[in-house]
Amino acid sequence: VSAAASWLSLLVPDPRGQRAVEETLADWREEVGRAQTVGERVQAHAHGLRSFAYLASGLLWDQSISADLWRTFVRTLAITVGLACVLGVVMVWMVGGDGAFGPFTASAYVLAMMSGFVPGIFGLVGSMGAGSSDARPGPVAAVAGLFFVWSAVMTSWILPAMAAPFLHEAAGAYPTIAVPRYVAPLIVHVASLTFASTYYLLGATIRRRFATRGWRTRQTWALMGALAIVALGIGARLALASAGISGPDRMAWLDRIMWLQLTVAWAMIVWFARPKAEPIPAPLET
C-alpha cells in the first residue's frame, strides 16, 4: 500500500489531490486492519480498489478539466465536425471525377482529411479565445486574417505540390475502401477533427492559467501553445521527408505524428488546467 501511495503521489501533483489519496489509503488500511477473517480481508481490499476507481474518476473530473472547459471543447468539436463535413462534401464533389461518393475513394478521403487544416486554422484563432468573453475582436480578426493569407498560400502553392505524392501513396495504402479497412483511417480522421477543439481548449486553459497577467501576455502564451503543436507536426513531417520513408509506411508515420501532436497537446492541457498549489484558504469565521 505504501508503494502505491508513493506512486500515486507522483501521479497526483497537487496537495488537495494528494490528501484525498492519503485519506483513501488510510480508509483502506483501517478496513483491512478491522478485518478478522480471510473473507473480510478480501472484501476490504475490494472496497479499497473500488475507492481508488472512484477517487481516480473524481480527481480526473475535478482537477484536470473543469466542466466549463469541457463544454468549450464539446462546442468547438461540434462546430469543427460540422465544418469538416461541409468541407469534406465539397472536396468529394470537387474530385467527383475519379470515383463514387459512397464508399469514398482514397483520393476523396485524403482530400477530405486535408480539409482538416482549415478547421485547424479556426482552432488556432480559437486558441486566442475567439468567441469567448475575454477576446478582443480587433487582434483576433487580425490573426484570423493572417491565417487566411497563410491558408491561401498553402492551398495555392504548397498543398498542390504536397498532395500529388500523398494521394498516390494513399491510393497504395488503401486501394479499396471496404468497410473493415475503412475503420482505421476513419479513426484517424475523427481524431484529426478534434484538433481545432484541442487548440481551443489549450488556449482557454493557458489563458486561465495566466489569468493574473495582462491580456497580451495571456493571448501570446495561448497562441504560442497552439503554434508549438503545429511546429511539432511540421518538424516531424520534415524529418519524415528527410528520412526517405515512402508508401504505406509513410502513411503510418503521418498517423503517428498526428497522435503524437494530440498527445502532447492534451498533456499540455492537463498540465495547464491543473490547479495551482495554493494553500487551502481558512474557513470564514462565524
Binding site: R16, G17, R19, A20, E22, E23, T24, L25, A26, D27, R29, E30, H47, R50, S51, F52, A53, Y54, L55, A56, S57, G58, L59, W61, D62, Q63, I280, P281, A282, P283, L284, E285, T286
Partner: protein, 91 residues
C-alpha cells in the same frame, strides 16, 4: 445558490451527525457518496470554505461544517423549497 447534490448531502450529514470521517459520511449517505470520491468533494468544499478538517486517528481527517457551509445549505434548502412551491403552483 448552486450546491451540488453530493455537497448538500455532506453538509446535511455533518450538521445532523456532527464531525465525521469521510468513510462515515459514505456509510451514512446510503449510496449517494462513493468511497474515494468523497475526498475529492470534501477537498473542493474545504477550498470553498464550506467545511473544515482536522487530523484525526490513523492518518484520517475529521470534517466539520463551517458557518458558510451551514448558510449555503440553508439557502439551498430555501431555494429548493420555493422552487417546489412554484412548480406546484404551475402544475
Amino acid at each position: 445558490v448552486r450546491l451540488p447534490n453530493s455537497e448538500r448531502v455532506i453538509l446535511q450529514l455533518l450538521i445532523g451527525k456532527g464531525p465525521c470521517y469521510g468513510l462515515e459520511l459514505v456509510d451514512a449517505s446510503r449510496g449517494v457518496l462513493k468511497r474515494g470520491g468523497v475526498y475529492v468533494t470534501l477537498g473542493r468544499m474545504e477550498e470553498k470554505g464550506m467545511v473544515t478538517s482536522a487530523a484525526g486517528e490513523r492518518g484520517r481527517r475529521l470534517y466539520r461544517p463551517t458557518a458558510l457551509g451551514e448558510r449555503a445549505l440553508a439557502a439551498a434548502l430555501v431555494f429548493s423549497g420555493q422552487l417546489k412551491v412554484k412548480m406546484g403552483a404551475v402544475s
